[in-house]
């Protein structure tokens, strides 16, 4: 990562703000805008602090940027955006997009996205990305002017290719399966985790009821009163502690979610490969059939069934001049076809090579990130248990003084 942007520039998404405006249909809407701050990293020796540039962007602009990157670099596993709507929520967490906790987590997710793009060896050099970070006005128009939407493959075409391709590279087929498995297992995990969090919340909070009863009970007891009262206090502490614990866990869930969405990006690269391969196979097939047609016309033998053959049988053969003309056209087409095939082959091979390089890079990143996430989850659990031990040790002391 020698020359990536992240090393030259500090990027943060520092604030989020609610805005109201008018949308495309001239209806009033509320949305959140995010402040992107950038600052060039000067070398230590100069001792200067360069000024901070900033501009506001909303989520839809991030989406536009990502779509542009997806189309322009189909061989790259493009980092995902944080989720559009709150998913996998457990009941105490709000599913509302305007909820401050959700906005905060999204802010962090957007910053993470920008940093990932900025540290990617290929993506960080993109001009559109750079303008996204630095050019306040007219960025949207600029993106649209690149005409990237035209280059986008239709979904239908991609689906068709997936079913009909005959010889895709085995590695990509395996990768696609892996992407499917990863997506399915992470979404299952997130769902269960949300349910577990819900239940854990219940256990902790009910203990809070002890606090009130103990307090009321202690009023009528002489000797037991103090013990009861302080035990009750510790129960309140216990019940309150779950809020922080679960909030920390949300960050862990977000880390997993990123890779859930990454799985989709992996699949996109595989689809592109299938599309290219299918294109190639179709072109080769077309070339072969044209060559055959040419041969048939030249030698007069009909080897394959064709409508032309049938009609000529029914309505009589064509004149030699007509045949010559046809052969000429076909020969031109064959030549074109062979050149196209050659370049498609080259394209295909290049794609496979560069895609696979990025995939290897991605795999390493994924293993590293997930391992760290799992470790931090374990650390969280240990800290939760330590807190539990402390509270119950205190409660035990109070109980034994009852």
């Amino acid at each position: 990562m020698e020359d990536c942007l992240a090393k030259k520039m500090e990027i943060t998404v520092s604030e989020a703000e609610k805005r109201t405006g008018r949308n495309a249909m001239n209806m009033q809407e509320t949305y959140t805008a995010y402040l992107i701050e950038t600052r060039a990293i000067e070398s230590q020796n100069e001792g200067q602090c360069s000024p901070v540039d900033s501009l506001w962007r909303r989520y839809s602009e991030f989406e536009l940027l990502r779509n542009y990157l997806l189309v322009t670099y189909p061989h790259i596993v493009v980092p995902p955006l944080p989720e559009k709507r709150a998913d996998f929520v457990w009941h105490k967490l709000s599913a509302d997009n305007m909820d401050p906790d959700f906005v905060e987590r999204r802010r962090i997710g957007l910053e993470n996205f920008l940093l990932r793009v900025a540290s990617h060896p290929v993506l960080c050099q993109d001009k559109v990305f750079y303008s996204f970070l630095t050019q306040e006005g007219g960025w949207k128009e600029m993106v649209n002017e690149t005409g990237f939407q035209l280059k986008a493959d239709s979904r239908l075409k991609a689906l068709n290719a997936t079913f009909r391709v005959k010889n895709p590279d085995k590695r990509f087929t395996e990768l696609k399966h892996y992407g499917d498995e990863l997506q399915s297992v992470i979404s299952h995990l997130l769902r269960v985790r949300a349910r577990v969090a819900d239940r854990l919340y219940g256990v902790y909070k009910v203990h809070g009821n002890y606090g009130r009863v103990f307090s009321e009970w202690s009023a009528i007891e002489k000797e037991m009163g103090d013990g009861l009262q302080s035990a009750g206090h510790h129960m309140d502490v216990y019940a309150a502690s779950i809020d922080d614990i679960l909030e920390e866990e949300e960050h862990y869930a977000d880390q997993l979610k990123e890779y859930l969405f990454y799985a989709e990006a992996l699949r996109a690269v595989c689809r592109k490969h299938e599309l290219m391969q299918y294109d190639l196979e179709m072109a080769a097939q077309d070339l072969t059939s044209k060559k055959q047609q040419c041969e048939e016309l030249a030698t007069g033998t009909v080897r394959t069934f064709s409508l032309k053959g049938m009609t000529s049988k029914l309505f009589g053969q064509e004149s030699p001049e007509q045949r010559e003309a046809k052969i000429k056209v076909l020969e031109e087409q064959i030549q074109e076809g062979e050149e196209q095939l050659k370049s498609k082959n080259l394209e295909g091979r290049d794609f496979v090579k560069s895609a696979w390089a990025d995939i290897e890079r991605f795999k390493e990143q994924k293993n590293h990130d997930l391992k760290e996430a799992l470790i931090s989850y374990a650390v969280m659990q240990i800290s939760m248990c330590k807190k539990g031990i402390q509270v119950w040790t205190n409660a035990k002391e109070c109980s034994s003084k009852m």
């Binding site: 297992v185 269960v192 037991m224 799992l374 374990a378």
Partner: protein
Amino acid sequence: QDPSLAEANSFSPSMPISPSSMINQYKFEDESELKDLFITVDDPESHITAIETFITYRVVTKTSRGEFDSCEYEVRRRYQDFLWLKSKLEEAHPTLIIPPLPEKFVMKGMVERFSDEFIETRRKALHKFLNRIADHPTLTFNEDFKIFLTAQAWELSSHKKQGPGLLSRMGQTVRAVASSVRGGVKNRPEMFTEMNDYVEIFSHKINVLDKIAHRIYKEEREYFNEMKEYGPIHTLWSASEEDIADSLKGVASCIDKCCKATEKRMAGLSENLLPIIHEYVLYSEILMGVLKRRDQIQSELDSKVDALANKKADKDLFSEEIGKLEDKVECANNALKADWDRWKQNMQYDMRSAFTSVADNNLRYYEE
């Protein structure tokens, strides 16, 4: 010595006669050093007859007391027999706090009448019941109690048929209801009003505690159910991975360990805390009953005093009756007070150990 005083003591023949020694009788003794009666309740067996199906429990008694002919007894008793014992004790000692019996039926929950869980819970409660009586300084010497522990089945049936019949017991109940309808007693000593207030609040709080404890158990169970699914997902995931497969498997096994620890915690709750809280819920009802009976005894005295003040005839006869009643009231009051103090000490001890053990359980859970 006044023979009429002996009549007043007809409740329990083995009690000494003079008032002062009666009061001393109720002083709290340190029984743990002097324990000479050991009782266990176990081995439930079901019996099927043409009319009904019922369960009997084996009651084993080991003792070094002289009043017992042998030092070991083994009998079988059914729930009805325990009910009989309890009502005899209440009759004999209306203002002593008789320990609670497990309920006849369980209203809430789908516990079938003869499910293993139900039988085991009942067995433990019956065991507790007999031991509490054995530890009580007065009740432990009750004759009916002795017969309960030692008599063979046919002996017990024939003994049950003696004694005040159903009608007289009904009479007592009617009077009790009547006196409670009349509202509070006029000359109730301050101490007992305080007790009444205490019991009201205590009863409310212990019922709330009961609900909370059950709710916690339920939440822990739901948590456990979800956790059971959580671990295996990580194992499933590890199958698709190479580098991080080991980390994932590690997480899976840790989560499974947490599951086991949760199970232990739940078991601790249901064995230690829930039964004790439940017992004290029943105790609070018993306390209210005891206080009412005391009131009732006092109001008998009061109404006789009023009658005397109004009639002025047969003064001597009345004043003798009143004298008896006054003694009765004083006995009742003292009995209750002493027993009350004892009960409170026990309650304190029980609660202390129950909550301490909950705390211990939780500590163990978090340490694991």
